[in-house]
Amino acid sequence: MIKLALRGIRASLGRLVLMTVAIVAGVGFVSGAFILSDSLSGTFTNLIADATAGTDAQIQATEPEFGQDPVSLPQSLVDTVAALPEVGVADPAVGVDSEQNFRPFVILRDDGSRVQPQGGPVISFSWNGDTGSFITSAEGTPPVGIDQTAIDSGYAEAAGVSVGDQVRMSTPGGERTFTVSSIVEPSVAAGAYYVLFDFASAQELFGKEGQVDQIALTRASGVSTDDMITAVQTVLPPEAEVLNQAQVVDEFSAGFEQVIGIFRNAMLTFAGIALFVSLFIIYNTFAILVNQRLQQIGMLRAIGATRAQVRRGILVEAVIVGVVGSAVGIAFGLVVAFGIKSAFQATGGFPETGTVVAPRTIIVSLLVGLVATIVSALLPAFLAGRVSPIAAMRNEAPSRSTRTRRIVIGSVVLAIGLVLMGLGLFGGGSASSVLVPLAFGAIFTFVGVAMLSVLFAGPAVDLMGRAPVLGVALLGMGLLLPVLTFTVGKGLPGGPFSGIVFVIKMLVSVVAVLTGASILASLARGGRTVGIGGSGAGLEGRLARQNAARSPQRTAATATALTIGIALVATVGVVGQSLKATFADTLERAIKADLFIYDENGSPFSGQLANQMEQVDGIGVISRFRANEVRLADGDVTSLSAFNADTGEQLLTFGVTEGSIDGLTDNGVLVFTDEAESRGLAVGDTLPVEFPDGQTEELTVSGIFDDNSVLNSPLLVDLSTYERHIPAADDFFVGATVAEGADRAAVQTEVQSLADGFGSISVQNTGEFLDSQEDQIDSLITLINLLLAFALFVAFLGVINTIVLSVIERTREIGLLRAVGMTREQTRATIRWESVIVCLFGAVLGIVLGVLFAAAAVVAIPEGIIDSVSIPWESLVFAILFAALAGVLAAVFPARRAANLNVLNAITTPGT
């Protein structure tokens, strides 16, 4: 049987290749996810290991419990530790507490503007001149003394300085001038820039005299690391801990692992979706293969093949397809990983990574591919085993009598899916207890609907395939698409790939209009003429329609793959659109300012900008917005925002429901309604708040507010209260109004030119601000759709596959039609038409399901995030037309095959 299976594979190589490709996409994503994440974490781990290679252990402050940076350790500890006989060298270092003192060491240009390149923050710490580990090479000499500094090559390039140059920098203690003694190359740039000083100068500059942040330890000769650590532990103060090198690396990697893990899981999710689509395609292909080979299987049964042998034969084919598909998939994963890595590296600062293909990657990918293939082939194999030996003597394929069972099982599966979704929606509970049943419910619903679609696939396809219906639909949607694009959509929005997407949309629209018009035109001429691309309004159309309707089971199964893909796109589209609509609504209600000033990277920026803005003619009122973490009496750490209370209400809506905003300037605090409720706070109550400087202040609740859509903090205070404890003069957001009668555009331009001196600061008017916020959601939707495109591609392969198989199955019939005078072009048109109908059916069903799932998801998502369902009509119309076009493309190869059939051979082909 194995020989038979192998030969069978060789004979039906084409369709098996298609199945293999279906597996490749899913497995490729699985292996790509693992390869990429392994490579990344391997690289980071190696880098950290390298960076700490010279040391055996490290002393650092224990993890702080709340929003502050680690407390520094006393410098005396260095001497204490160094005095231990077990310790060889104790090398202290200090760094800048990045959160409290944002970007203190920034090079200033001659005009006073800050050199803040796109990308990351500027980080400062002490450097003793070592090269080889973290600093891989250095030009010049290490900085010595308070007037010298070392910067990394990226920052040097941005500032246009070289070794020996004088640079002016902003520091916490005011501006200072340094000589660049060295330009260094860090092994991990990771998008950040570096400004380094010698240890003593760093202590002084960072305001950490007499303090150290960490002490790198090297053991004395003849002493083990463990012994040294034991000795060190006896002298450590409680706020310090000592870690060996492996622990340092682990602690450092753990942070990366978390980020990488999220990324990996996202990729695996899309891999799962692609595989889910593949399952249907493989199932469908094997089901058709079995049906085609009924006579052969019957003969094998007659001459003595057992049921098990027949089943095994099919499964062996599945195993081979699975193994080959997975192997190619793993290779494809390398390409995927490489592509994503290159994209990251192109954005800059990403470390060069090796490619790690762990045994786990190969095993998991192979297993996933293999199990997926075998599972999909199980039912066809089982049915093959049940083929009666008498089938060998029949010349026609008997109709499969599984319809009733299919409907029964389909109903049960659908019911389970709906119940699960219902549980998810109305069962309540945590996010996972909502989403997990919802997701599984969706999967079951898919499978159930796919099985049940047999019931309505026939009539639906029959209706959709009617020339007037199809003609009007294509023409109508083709005309509608550009209208929607320019009204509901924004024409040519910003965001990645928008240009290409726009061109594709317009092309699809033109093709749909022309095709629809030509179908209608040929109908008007009597329905005999073949229209553009052989639209097949006449006989061909009828044949195609009947073919698609004749085997609703196959039509349904083919369409299912496409249905899943389109349904996911529709779900994402509808949820995204709803999210956007809700977001825009709340935001629009919440903002009153005319100008919005913020850093594009989300970093705080100098308060000088707001000061300078106040001098601009035409500016009405201004408020600065800042935020930090604070601790409440029960130990909870929460976020607190501050703004100018006297002007704030003219810029934002806070939705104060009780009390008023006026009390803020008198040590008051506004509390978000949920927070007030959970803490039992009312207007007039006292709320003790501990600030990062360690001081606790008794604030008076002066009001309750319920609109936190812009300032996402439960506590709001006046800037004066805030500045008493956090003096850093950086704002994270500035809002302003334009005075009555002033030229808004001119004011905006002037503020923007001021802001240009402060780095990557955006100055936006209300419309631009709303758009830019929505664009962020658009970019996310585009990204998800891009990944879903893989699933759609797999579905597309499935359509090709089924159309090819249906051509083979109908060889005799096509030969007959050709013999009685159907032209090649008419033959092609018939196949094309059928493919379009099947694709349209899949797309429409997918959109219906997708909208339903999205509606369910919207119900499940808290109202604060999404409050109503909003349908992206443009995307949905585009999806349908795109599916129709995909149908035409999918039919190219099968149509050619059908048209080129040798008429005589085709007629004499025995049986099925």
């Binding site: 060789r10 094998l300 007659a302 001459i303 003595g304 093949a305 057992t306 049921r307 030996p389 003597m393």
Partner: protein
């Protein structure tokens, strides 16, 4: 096609002495009913027949006379509604699907009208197929004898689509012979062939009976094909209505015409 199967026979089992020692296959009171109620069709109506070892038997009858059904039931491809069929003394109704499959593999050979060769296997591999399915080592001498009897010579390494219809059917006959079965059933084995090639195949089958000692039962429409047999059975409406020993084509033709087939 729906089919009612009842394992409990309304007729009593035949007495053991009714079984012939010399029969390769035997049917006793065979009844096969397709459909139910109004659509009920009695394909076999209490048929008893036995096929002697080393004989070449033809079954004839008009379309719908039950000749194919009789062959399928006797070959263990289909089950009777009631009655019993035996191959080499084994009652087929007592066997489950696995045992029945093994019995077919070891005791029964098949020749189909449409050849039914596996297009991806070459001629030799097709002949070996039943042995490979059984995982059995071929009896080398017998296998060589069968292969050489096909007269295919150097074309044994060709695929079916590189062979003529006659050659393909010779491969199919050889496949049926390969496992040295107790009985070979042919379903219109020459139905797809021209008269010249038909004669070739029938000669081959005749040789298998005369020289290799095989037992062949063949369903056919063609009086000339039937004339190659030692004995012809005539079926009509599920009954055996007549039989003829050492027939000539003309005798068969006359008899068939009288049956209206």
């Amino acid at each position: 096609m729906t089919e009612t199967e009842t394992s409990a026979s309304p007729l009593p089992p035949p007495p053991p002495d009714a079984l012939s020692d010399t029969a390769a296959a035997q049917a006793v009171n065979a009844v096969k009913i397709y459909g139910r109620g109004d659509t009920e069709v009695h394909a076999l109506n209490n048929v008893s027949v036995s096929f002697e070892r080393g004989a070449f038997t033809a079954i004839m009858g008009p379309s719908g006379s039950g000749k194919s059904t009789l062959m399928q039931c006797m070959a263990g491809l289909d089950r009777l509604t009631s009655g019993a069929t035996f191959i080499g003394g084994v009652a087929l109704s007592t066997l489950n699907d696995k045992a029945l499959t093994e019995l077919r593999r070891e005791k029964v050979g098949f020749i189909f009208q449409s050849f039914n060769l596996i297009p991806t296997l070459n001629a030799r591999e097709n002949i070996r197929l039943p042995l490979d399915l059984a995982g059995a080592k071929p009896d080398k001498a017998w296998f060589d004898q069968v292969v050489s009897a096909t007269g295919l010579g150097d074309r044994l390494d060709h695929r079916p689509n590189e062979l003529s219809g006659g050659q393909q059917q010779r491969v199919a006959v050889a496949r049926a012979l390969a496992s040295r079965p107790a009985i070979i059933f042919g379903d219109e084995p020459t139905g797809n062939l021209d008269s010249h090639t038909s004669a070739e195949i029938l000669d081959f089958m005749r040789t298998a009976v005369d020289e290799l000692g095989q037992t062949i039962v063949m369903v056919t429409h063609d009086p000339r094909s039937a004339s190659y047999a030692d004995r012809v059975l005539f079926l009509s409406d599920g009954h055996i209505v007549d039989e003829m020993a050492k027939p000539t084509a003309d005798q068969v033709y006359d008899r068939i015409r009288s049956l209206g087939g």
